[in-house]
């Protein structure tokens, strides 16, 4: 059985052509304007180029859950940043159809002095939702977080568990066209992971495309049909996730 036969339609929502991300690192660390000016005057300003991504070509289709694997520093997070518009690539072209929403570090942008409700609004607007839309989702978020009795007290009085519940509820109550998950599945406990996977499957049936970066091969295997293996900023392999993972594991064992 090949995955290609199983894919009903190829309707790309993400298309990367020849995408490169180049960091220019100063030969020596320069931290201050003063040093910088001195170096320029001495004509001693040197840069080393470092490619975090090099000539990436990739298409991801609507409704896919796509996995990305690779060792630390292979460029996985950089690739996600390029897709979520955080990094503008230094070369190549990124084409995205639809809204992209990264699942942020839980509770990104939360403020301890604000109440749970106020933080839901703050977090929601950071994710790009207008106030009206947040009002429509508020009930669902409160319900899902199981924090109804505490929603109007300041966040600093929350336990870390409550904090995480609110963060998860407020960042996953939206159905983006493209959802980006960077290692989130590995931080939570077993129950959280289950909840997260369930939501992703729910999203997929709603037509959401998900991109998942993980070191947990089992998550990739169980969720993704296709995966890409990144190595030193280039794509080593794209294909059915079981084959990509097998090749990756073999290379790891050999190394």
């Amino acid at each position: 059985m090949t995955i290609a036969d199983n894919t009903p339609q190829t309707d790309p929502v993400i298309r990367l052509s020849d995408v490169s991300v180049r960091y220019r690192l100063p030969g020596e660390r320069i931290h201050t304007l003063k040093e910088y000016v001195i170096r320029i005057l001495q004509n001693k300003l040197q840069f080393k180029d470092f490619y975090a991504l090099k000539n990436i070509n990739l298409e991801i289709n609507k409704g896919e859950i796509f996995g990305i694997i690779g060792r630390n520093g292979a460029g996985k997070s950089t690739l996600l940043k390029v897709i979520s518009r955080v990094l503008i690539p230094t070369g190549g072209r990124v084409w995205i159809k639809g809204t992209v929403s990264p699942l942020l570090e839980l509770g990104a942008g939360f403020h301890p002095e604000l109440t749970g409700r106020e933080n839901v609004f703050l977090n929601g607007t950071i994710l790009g939702h207008p106030r009206r839309e947040i009002e429509d989702h508020l009930e669902e978020i409160i319900e899902f977080s199981e924090l109804r009795d505490f929603i109007d007290v300041p966040l600093r009085t929350y336990s870390s568990g409550m904090h995480a519940r609110l963060g998860f509820a407020s960042s996953t109550s939206w159905e983006p066209d493209i959802l980006i998950l960077d290692e989130v599945l590995s931080v939570g406990d077993e129950a959280f992971r289950k909840k997260c996977e369930a939501r992703m499957r729910g999203f997929r049936s709603g037509g959401t495309t998900s991109i998942l970066v993980s070191h947990t091969m089992d998550s990739i295997l169980s969720l993704c049909k296709r995966a890409a293996w990144l190595d030193h900023g280039t794509i080593r392999m794209v294909g059915p996730s079981d084959e990509v993972i097998a090749a990756y594991r073999q290379a790891q064992a050999g190394a």
Partner: protein, 275 residues
């Protein structure tokens, strides 16, 4: 499911960045509102005196400065109110521009994770500043009443003065915070510059005391001289600024804002590489 089929992002087909940034701010206007709200509410909740601190800080400065300098500058009628009127304009400028520099550090953590209009945090810092400035203005009016100074109808001109001041502050803040992203020491240098700049602007001393020889430098070469003047005249002196002053003040404010906006927007793509 939402219908967002038409929202296509293509890195090869982007409009002029400064305009895109402007459109982004409009789209994310609810975020700006939430950020301003957060800053005000967090400040208000943190202490017993809450929002009063906003007013007490320039008020305290006013008391100290008037005690120290009242003999020296006895010629000014209602000297404490004179100081206060200049001081709240200055405080607005220095606080918002400094806030923008620190916001870019705080916001930087978010900008590395998710796309937001990069000017969001700067614009919200100005929004917060304007709210605080409004409260300070109320304090000033109170002080003027206490000192028996007349409040003139010209006070209705204040929104214009505040807008010009805000435009200038946003422009300066955008320029300085762009530089601070590349070189952290710029933030410290700017703090020093602010102190010197304040004393080079007629805030605690009357204009008439500036020696003829320095007038060119202190008045003509100092944008804040015009902006403070436009702010002070309608409320403290009860007169409207003359056409020339208005023209210069608006010219400076608009030019700085437009320049800062373009400067920042054009560098904004690189921020994520440096933050």
């Amino acid at each position: 499911m939402k219908t967002t089929e038409n929202s296509i992002y293509d890195s090869a087909k982007r409009g002029p960045v400064a305009l895109e940034e402007l459109r982004g701010i409009y789209q994310y206007r609810d975020l700006i509102f939430q950020l301003v709200r957060r800053d005000i509410v967090a400040r208000y909740k943190r202490s017993v005196l809450g929002i009063a601190w906003t007013m007490l800080q320039p008020l305290g400065m006013m008391v100290i400065l008037s005690l120290v300098f009242s003999n020296l500058f006895a010629s000014v009628k209602g000297y404490p109110a004179y100081i206060l009127s200049g001081l709240i304009a200055w405080t607005f400028f220095s606080q918002t521009t400094s806030a923008m520099i620190s916001q870019i550090v705080w916001g930087g953590a978010l900008l590395k994770q998710i796309y937001l209009p990069r000017t969001s945090f700067s614009v919200s810092a100005i929004g917060t500043g304007i709210v605080n400035l409004g409260f300070s203005l109320l304090t000033l009016i109170l002080i003027m009443l206490i000192f028996g100074l007349p409040i003139s109808w010209t006070i209705i001109f204040m929104p214009v003065s505040m807008l010009l001041l805000a435009a200038f502050a946003l422009g300066v803040g955008l320029i300085i915070s762009t530089m601070a992203i590349y070189f952290p020491d710029v933030a410290e240098m700017y703090a020093v510059v602010l102190v010197a700049w304040m004393y080079l602007t007629p805030i605690i001393y009357p204009e008439s005391l500036v020696p003829e020889a320095y007038k060119f430098w202190i008045f003509n070469c100092n944008p804040m001289y015009y902006l403070v003047k436009v702010f002070r005249m309608p409320v403290f002196e009860g007169s409207l600024p003359d056409a020339q002053t208005m023209l210069i003040a608006s010219g400076i404010a608009i030019f700085t804002l437009v320049f800062g906006w373009f400067f920042y927007s054009n560098k904004a793509d690189e921020f994520a590489y440096h933050l």
